[in-house]
């Protein structure tokens, strides 16, 4: 569970290693389970979605599971555990696609018509027309005119997609040299910045870090109170000012205080802004500028939250935020819904920004590491376990 915030230890560097995509089992990022296992709220684990995995979700046969802790019993979260919730959500969202693929191929020849239908199914997962065409094109190149079963198709597509995603599936590495490590969270309105910060703070706290929060959304009504509540829940001090205060000034003050207090991490919330609002983007740049006055190396991580419901506009969001404030990590939120966030595939290809985590619910423990293989599998409806 905490694997995406792994400390910067040589051993922990492994997960980033890009494996050969044809063999999904090659991802061997065995994290230090001993470090995390005892933590009571920790150890659920991502669905083991390796291609061959049997339905039983608790058998971490898959090497994709980052924390190889023996975790089955700890899963009873109030609402039945995130895994079951995720499964519930994803099964809903994938069933259409799964049925679709199953419907297309009950063992038949791969012809133009089939390919077109396949392409459409990928489009419906928000992969975008270009990416969908590319992936199905690859399939056509190797299998055209051959008999092929639905399972083979899914596997092929999942592998193709995973190829693109594996390099970006990287846990967020905190640099112990920075006290505090400053994480700036930016994004469009309603993408889940504050909620993500709350959940992230929880993970960091559970991993024994001291965390400070800065309520930098001084625009939206009650955004400050929202973060303060998360602060109480997670035991993280919150630096806040009244609504309407200068966000840059607040960030400055928060960094000074967090630094004086010797905090490990400072999470700075910002107001949601549409990327085409120049004035608001300038304001964001000002926050960065001002932070740098305290610590020239900060912010060490600038996270962009993307809503999985978002379609192709995500491209514009990443492009502009990256250019404006050097975003160097993504978090995909609201993946527990019926949206599948397929736009991430073309984003990965175009920008190559690491995807650190996914949000799968509103609960405090609903932040998961991003796993390329299982994400790809869920996009094409290939998880028997669900």
């Amino acid at each position: 569970m905490f694997d995406w915030i792994k400390r910067k230890k040589p051993a922990a560097e492994a997960p980033a290693a890009p494996p050969t995509p044809e063999t999904p089992v090659a991802v061997e990022p065995v994290a230090q389970p001993e470090q995390l296992a005892p933590e009571p709220l920790a150890p659920e684990q991502p669905a083991p979605v390796a291609v061959e995995a049997p339905p039983a979700p608790v058998v971490p046969k898959s090497a994709l599971v980052l924390d190889a802790a023996p975790v089955a019993p700890v899963e009873e979260a109030p609402q039945g555990g995130w895994l079951s919730r995720l499964r519930r959500g994803l099964s809903k969202s994938t069933s259409r696609l799964t049925d679709g693929i199953g419907g297309i191929f009950t063992k038949r020849k791969l012809d133009d018509e089939t390919l077109e239908e396949l392409e459409e199914l990928l489009i419906q997962a928000d992969l975008g027309p270009a990416m969908a065409a590319r992936v199905t094109g690859d399939l056509a190149k190797s299998r055209f005119g051959k008999e092929i079963s639905p399972d083979e198709v899914k596997r092929f597509l999942a592998d193709e997609i995973a190829k693109v995603l594996v390099p970006v599936a990287q846990p967020l590495v905190l640099d112990g040299n920075h006290k505090p490590h400053v994480v700036l969270v930016v994004g469009v309105n309603g993408t889940g910045k504050t909620t993500t910060i709350g959940k992230y703070a929880r993970e960091l706290r559970a991993a024994g870090k001291t965390v400070w929060l800065a309520a930098g959304d001084t625009f939206r009504a009650a955004a400050v109170s929202q973060l303060q509540i998360w602060g109480e829940r997670t035991g993280a001090p919150v630096i806040a000012k009244e609504t309407g205060a200068d966000a840059a000034g607040l960030a400055y003050e928060a960094l000074e205080k967090a630094r004086a207090a010797g905090a490990d991490v400072l999470l700075i919330d910002t107001a949601g802004r549409l990327q085409n609002k120049q004035g608001l983007m300038d304001e964001l740049r000002k926050i960065v500028r001002v932070i740098k006055k305290v610590d020239p190396t900060a912010p060490h991580t600038t996270l962009l939250t993307l809503d999985a419901t978002t379609g192709q506009n995500a491209h514009s969001q990443v492009e502009v935020f990256k250019e404006m404030v050097s975003v160097n990590g993504l978090i995909l939120t609201k993946l527990d819904g019926s949206a599948r966030g397929g736009v991430l595939v073309s984003l990965a290809q175009k920008f190559g920004l690491p995807v650190h985590a996914i949000g799968v619910g509103e609960g405090i423990d609903d932040l998961r590491p991003f796993d390329a293989q299982s994400f790809a599998a869920s996009l094409v409806g290939l998880d028997e376990g669900r």
Partner: protein, 451 residues
């Protein structure tokens, strides 16, 4: 990355124009591009398909084959069909029921329900003179109820007092009771964001619906929504019943294909558009504008309308009369400059014009800022009336004086005069085009040319 449809179709139609006639394959080729354009605009696939079929029926046939410019014909058919599918304009909020009229706000997390609630309440209060009560039923997100309360204070609309620990259904009942007892006209019920597939929460909202019997159940949808629009629309409509749609963040740069998906799948009208973070940023829906936007054809109509709002009619007519005679002077240029500033400056205007993506890029590269307009205004106002009417008077020493008076340099003054000259020339050329042509060209001629 996402070229507008006009750009995409450009090549195909250039070819067509040369050949003269339009074959069925050509329509097919064009429609493939239309399909991609719609998908890139996030229109849901099933909706795209039925749309393409509809257009094909209309397009393949004599109408197009005989037309002189087949390309434009297809674009027009596509555009008109889109407008048709987007539905009626501006239906407004239905308040035809016994007071207090319950209005239920629905949607996913982060779609903008609470902000929209406050905006609509404010609109009903100011425009319809209704007494509105807002109640937040969002007991899940931290401080959500607080958010609505603060917004209520900002717009001076009453909110239901918060009782901690109360469940949403009870809050809804209490809201209706208070609404009746205290004589409110409208009760706005802002629900928590929920996933369309979250059965538990969908059941909750059904219970809320059953105890309040809302006259309007408005589904709030983010304009950036992708293919998931299908699921959202289907589930909310099937389970709760939707009477109208509110599209938010239409001020972003998303192409807003979700509008078409929502409209088609629910069959319900799009009633309002959220156009900004300010509380009055709520506009009526105009299908033709959204159509242009989805197709990437620019928001020409919005521009024209905005221009109409800001430009003083009389002044415009005076200007047009002058132009017809060909004596466009610096005073006229000044009034145009001022109108441009009123319309939200270059950036705002450019974003509404079709096909200006490139120009916009160049502009941003050239680093031209809005202050330039202000400087130009200053230069003109530093001239005497006589000078403004006849620029031949402007010799070197007068130019120096003007530069000094306006805090600019002689080079700036010269540049402005050159620009004026260009404009005046242009005006003469467009004399025959009538008012409309004049206006559009007049504005673009104002754009600085390579510095």
């Amino acid at each position: 990355m996402f070229d507008g449809l006009t750009g995409r179709l450009g090549d195909i139609f250039d070819r067509l124009r040369r050949r003269g006639a339009l074959t069925e394959e050509d329509v097919g080729a064009a429609l493939r591009e239309v399909r991609v354009a719609l998908l890139e605009a996030d229109v849901a696939l099933p909706v795209v398909k039925s749309f393409i079929n509809g257009v094909k029926e209309k397009a393949v046939g004599q109408e197009v084959l005989r037309s002189i410019t087949p390309g434009q014909m297809v674009i027009k058919i596509v555009h008109d069909h889109l407008v048709e599918m987007l539905g009626e304009q501006n239906e407004g909020i239905n308040l035809n029921a016994e007071a207090p009229v319950p209005v239920l706000m629905l949607g996913l997390q982060g779609s903008g329900k609470t902000t929209s609630t406050a905006k609509i309440a404010c609109l009903l209060k100011t425009r319809e003179k209704k007494k509105v009560l807002m109640a937040s039923l969002d007991t899940r997100r931290p401080a959500a109820q607080e958010q609505l309360r603060v917004l209520g204070e900002q717009v001076d609309v009453a909110t239901l007092p918060i009782v901690p620990g109360e469940d949403p259904v009870t809050i809804a009942q209490r809201a209706m009771r208070v609404g009746r007892l205290e004589g409110y006209d409208v009760v706005m019920l802002d629900t928590a964001g929920r996933l369309a597939i979250d059965e538990e929460l969908m059941d909750e909202v059904v219970r809320i619906r059953d105890v309040t019997k809302p006259v309007e159940s408005l589904l709030v949808v983010d304009a950036m929504t992708g293919q998931d629009a299908v699921t959202v629309a289907t589930n909310f409509n099937d389970k709760v019943g939707v009477t109208g749609i509110v599209m938010t963040r239409i001020d972003g740069d998303a192409r807003g294909g979700a509008a078409l998906s929502m409209r088609q799948i629910t069959g319900r009208p799009i009633k309002l558009l959220g156009t900004g973070e300010k509380i009055d940023a709520l506009e009526a829906f105009h299908p033709d504008r959204i159509a242009g936007r989805i197709l990437g054809m620019g928001d020409v109509l919005s521009l024209v309308e905005k221009a109409a709002e800001t430009i003083d009619r009389e002044e415009a007519e005076k200007l047009a009369a002058k132009m017809e005679k060909g004596n466009f002077d610096l005073d006229d240029m000044l009034s145009q400059l001022r109108q441009i500033r009123k319309m939200g400056g270059m950036g705002g205007m450019l974003s509404m014009l079709p096909g200006v993506g490139k120009i916009k890029d160049q502009l941003s590269k050239a680093n031209i800022d809005e202050r330039m307009l202000k400087r130009q205004e200053a230069i003109i106002t530093s001239m005497t009336q006589k000078e403004r009417r006849d620029i031949k008077l402007l010799n070197a020493s007068r130019r120096r004086r003007i530069a000094l008076g306006s805090g600019t340099t002689v080079a700036d003054v010269n540049r402005l005069l050159k620009q004026y000259q260009d404009m005046a020339d242009m005006m003469r050329k467009f004399k025959k085009l009538g008012k409309k042509g004049l206006m559009r060209q007049g504005l673009s001629a104002l754009m600085p040319k390579g510095r």
